[in-house]
């Protein structure tokens, strides 16, 4: 994975991956729950098209960052539960660092504009 934003699609995919890993840090969850958690925790700012979650989940399984197992949901429905692996935990810190760098860079660009607007 590149550290610069050369490939915007890969970067966005990486962002979704990071959000999933962050959500699973709190404990195993099924797909529907992950989608809702991301929406709720972002105060409904991030409206993920829920389907796009699944390719991302499989990408993470393939990389060995999460694992899937069968379980039962809150209302006793059978569902697939995803949980973080040790490798996934490590990856989350990497993604976190990358994101902070990126967000910092955006913030540094945006702040002078705000100042100008204030003037």
């Amino acid at each position: 994975m590149s550290t610069s934003v050369e490939d915007p699609i890969a970067f966005l995919q990486g962002t979704l991956d990071m959000l999933i890993l962050r959500t699973l840090l709190l404990g195993a969850a099924h797909g529907h729950a992950i989608a809702h958690a991301i929406e709720r925790n972002s105060d409904d700012v991030l409206q993920v098209e829920q389907g796009s979650l699944y390719p991302a989940l499989h990408r993470l399984i393939k990389r060995g960052w999460i694992q899937a197992e069968d379980g039962l949901s809150e209302n006793n429905r059978r569902a697939k539960y995803y949980h973080l692996t040790a490798k996934g935990r490590t990856q989350l810190t990497v993604e976190n660092g990358r994101w902070e760098k990126f967000a910092g860079a955006i913030a540094r660009i945006m702040r002078p504009a705000e100042l100008e607007a204030d003037l």
Partner: protein, 858 residues
């Protein structure tokens, strides 16, 4: 972990669960069940796409879609089998001759001799220093070879090789094979490994057989080594089988046996005197340089040993200078040149075929514009469409390659049948070597790329509006015709290049055929060779007079004659006489021996005096060249000359006759009477009433019955004998014409296609013009003219390429001239007639136009 059916099912269930949960939540929020499900689905997005994307996380996507593309391509091919068949056939017609000719060139010119360190190997030869010499370059006698081997220090080894026919007895059958008499260290000097067996042994008569012979005659049995083989009546032990890639060192003749000279001389001491003659220059000498010795130093030593031999044996070697010659490097260079020319010509044919297929595919791209436009509107990327086209091209090309290879295999099996009949049969084992496979693979790639790319690019270009409107006029005018026209012009040009070349070669051959050969090839004469051998295959003299009487009794036979030497028999004309004249240096003249009236039977004119008769033991015939040298006044008949030490009287002068090839210049030649009983091979010629080929079977059976145990070979008419000597020239002409006509066939189908397309494009316009009262003849003329214009353009382009190329060839090839009116006229006429015929069919369709129908259809 790999993607599998179970994962597919689990994903489907997972997604279904997800949507069910979302639906439940929506219901809990107060929606109706139907509304709730609809909202859940909307929120989830396109289920099929999600599945596809998830799948592509696991599956190597590219390969997967390629597989799909191949299936798709096959489906499209099945949907229009006619066009596909035309394309495949066009390509296969180009592939088959390409692969066949290349495999022959590969075997003859590109396969290096499988010797160790070929750069260390040179040939040693003699050069006759006299300006009047019959032959400037001479091979080496066995005695000279032994002297060279004894004296030379620059070489680590010298190998001797002499080709000859041998009779082998095989379970009651006798087979004539080509054998090489060689020095005992032949294989080790050349560095050629032996597949199985110890190789030549000193303590018993041993020989090595070729791999082809082993497979042909012994089915490749493993217990072959140590078996006894009867060769010319003597028992030898097979002590080795050569490797499959070693076909001897000759370019074309591949020996089946290698026999050590010394072993043969021990078994047949009678041969020694003949073998040790220094004036028979017929052995090939290969020499391997000692490591570190510069070639120039070795050459100097060979020259110096040659001078020493000239001093020691003045009678035979006085004018001979020894020199070395890098035969292998020379062959490699020559082979590459020939192959380059061959591949260029074959490439033209392939290019024509590719242009044809490109035209066909362009037409299909046009037909599918609507489909393509719909797919583009639905989001298919251009790369995706191009790839589909390329895959389709590759599939077509592969099918054509399979067909072409099968065709090549058939052609290669036919090839040996085209070879002229020889006394010793030639075995040619053609096979697809690695270079041939590589060539075939390159053909497929090249052709798929060349004919696939243009239509792919054109066919996939974004053209939504007119494509969806089914508007036929817009893009055709702009896109298709110029490219297809260009292709056609190039095709016609290529066909013209090939046909013009064919005409030039044919012209050269017919010039050669007008060369005076000195005998009359049209005489009704049938001939065959009788090899005098006993029941056990050992040599036995032929009683020529008895055989002659027997043949004379065949009904319809007018005259029978026999001879040891025959005009135009290629290499078998090397015999010489030593001519001694008072007050002159002794010199060699070409020699030969013929039976009574043999030359007259072949139609050789005796200009003064008479032909040989049975009692002429001390007589000799001389040809005009020798007669003029002996007596410029023209009174040679009656003179006595000294030949090989014996006094002979000249009884007749015969016209100069070519003995080796038609290109030979006349050389001084004397013909003595052949002995009535002689060993080896004797040619019998019968002059008959009527068609000589009808007598061949009788000639063969009578010869076989005349001397039981003997072998009859090479039976043919005098005309066939003459034609066989021009085998290479005629093969070249045939090859050019086949390539040219194939190219023309492809071009005609292309031209027909483009004229039809043009007609289709303008049919609306034509209909309107007809409705307004134009004469159909005028419109037919327009269609015809469009085809003919393209052909004429191609013709001019073809000549512009072929003519300068022919000039270059002519500057290197004497006897070849590009200034041939027949070649020019014939090739141009063939091309133009074919072009008009191709355009005429679509043009005639003008007559069938019903203006009302077409205008109404709009």
């Amino acid at each position: 972990m790999r993607w599998n059916r179970r994962m597919e099912e689990e994903l489907a269930r997972d997604i279904a669960d997800h949507i069910a949960m979302e639906t439940e939540e929506n219901v809990a929020r107060g929606m109706s069940p139907a509304e709730a499900r609809y909202a859940a689905l909307r929120k989830f997005g396109n289920v099929a796409r999600v599945k596809e994307e998830t799948r592509s996380v696991w599956v190597w996507n590219w390969l997967d879609t390629c597989y799909a593309d191949v299936r798709h391509a096959l489906r499209r091919i099945r949907r229009s089998p006619g066009t596909a068949a035309l394309a495949v056939l066009s390509l296969a017609l180009a592939f088959a001759p390409n692969v066949t000719v290349f495999s022959v060139m590969d075997r003859l010119f590109l396969t290096p001799l499988p010797v160790k360190a070929p750069r260390e190997i040179v040939q040693i030869e003699f050069q006759d220093t006299r300006p009047t010499a019959n032959f400037q370059y001479l091979k080496v006698s066995y005695s000279d070879f032994q002297d060279f081997r004894h004296s030379l220090k620059s070489f680590s080894g010298l190998a001797y090789q002499l080709g000859r026919g041998s009779m082998v007895a095989l379970n009651g059958r006798r087979v004539l094979v080509y054998a090489n008499l060689v020095s005992e260290d032949y294989f080790s000097v050349l560095g050629v490994p032996i597949l199985s067996g110890p190789g030549f042994l000193k303590n018993r008569p041993s020989l090595v057989i070729s791999h082809g012979f082993w497979v042909r005659e012994f089915e490749g049995r493993p217990d072959i080594v140590g078996r006894t083989l009867l060769v010319d009546g003597r028992a030898f032990t097979i002590d080795g089988v050569a490797t499959p890639d070693f076909h001897g060192t000759d370019k074309i003749l591949s020996p089946d046996l290698w026999i050590p000279v010394e072993t043969l001389l021990q078994l047949q001491p009678g041969l020694r005197a003949d073998m040790e003659r220094r004036d028979t220059h017929d052995g090939t000498v290969w020499a391997r340089l000692r490591p570190g010795v510069p070639p120039a130093q070795a050459a100097a030593e060979v020259a110096s040993v040659g001078r020493e031999l000239a001093r020691r044996w003045p009678a035979t070697n006085r004018y001979l200078a020894g020199y070395t010659y890098d035969e292998l490097a020379d062959r490699e260079r020559g082979g590459k040149n020939v192959t380059a020319i061959g591949v260029f010509l074959l490439g033209i044919l392939l290019a024509v075929a590719c242009a044809n297929v490109a035209g066909i595919l362009l037409a299909r791209a046009e037909e599918r514009r609507h489909e393509t436009a719909i797919r583009q509107a639905l989001g298919a990327s251009r790369a995706r469409l191009v790839r589909e086209w390329m895959v389709e091209s590759a599939v077509l090309s592969s099918i054509a390659a399979a067909l072409g290879l099968a065709g090549a295999k058939v052609l290669m099996n036919l090839l040996p049948g085209l070879l002229p009949s020889m006394v010793v049969p030639i075995h040619f084992e053609f096979s697809f070597g690695p270079r041939v496979w590589l060539y075939a693979a390159l053909l497929v790639c090249f052709s798929a790329l060349s004919f696939g790319l243009v239509p792919a690019w054109r066919g996939s270009r974004p053209d939504l509006l007119s494509g969806l409107r089914r508007d036929s006029a817009v893009s055709i005018l702009r896109v298709r015709i110029p490219i297809r026209s260009l292709l056609i012009v190039m095709q016609v040009a290529a066909a013209e290049v090939l046909l013009f070349s064919a005409g030039l070669v044919l012209d050269t051959v017919s010039t050669v055929e007008r060369f005076e050969v000195g005998f009359d090839p049209h005489r009704p004469v049938a001939m065959a060779v009788l090899l005098g051998t006993g029941e056990d295959g050992s040599p036995r003299p032929v009683d020529c007079e008895a055989v002659r009487d027997r043949l004379a009794r065949i009904p319809g036979v007018r005259r029978v004659a026999y001879s040891r030497s025959v005009p135009l028999s290629g290499s078998g004309s090397g015999a010489t006489f030593r001519l001694e004249m008072p007050g002159q240096e002794p010199r060699e003249v070409m020699g030969g021996s013929a039976g009574p009236a043999f030359l007259s039977t072949l139609g050789v004119r005796v200009l003064s005096g008479r032909d040989l008769e049975a009692a002429d033991q001390h007589a000799v015939l001389v040809n005009t060249t020798l007669a003029r040298q002996l007596d410029p006044a023209g009174n040679a008949v009656g003179r006595e000359i000294r030949l090989d030490g014996a006094i002979r009287q000249i009884v007749g002068v015969f016209q100069d006759t070519v003995w080796g090839t038609v290109y030979d210049r006349p050389q001084a030649r004397a013909i003595a009477l052949a002995p009535a009983r002689s060993g080896g091979d004797v040619t019998f010629a019968v002059e008959v009433a009527g068609n000589p080929s009808a007598y061949l079977a009788a000639l063969r059976s009578e010869l076989a019955a005349a001397q039981p145990g003997s072998t009859v070979a090479s039976s043919k008419t005098l005309w066939q004998h003459y034609r066989d000597s021009l085998f290479l020239e005629r093969s070249a002409t045939r090859l050019f014409y086949v390539l040219g006509l194939l190219a023309l066939l492809l071009t005609v189908s292309g031209l027909h296609g483009i004229t039809s397309a043009l007609f289709a494009r303008r049919s609306k316009e034509f209909a309107i013009r007809l409705a307004l009262g134009a004469a159909p003849r005028q419109i037919m003329g327009t269609v015809l003219a469009s085809g003919v214009k393209l052909a004429a353009g191609g013709l001019v382009l073809g000549l512009a390429i072929a003519f300068p190329a022919a000039l270059i060839v002519a500057s290197r090839q004497p006897g070849f001239s590009p200034w041939s009116v027949p070649a020019l006229a014939l090739s141009s006429a063939i091309v133009m007639v074919a072009a008009i015929a191709a355009a005429a069919q679509p043009a005639r369709r003008v007559l069938r136009i019903q203006p009302g129908d077409i205008v109404r259809a709009e």
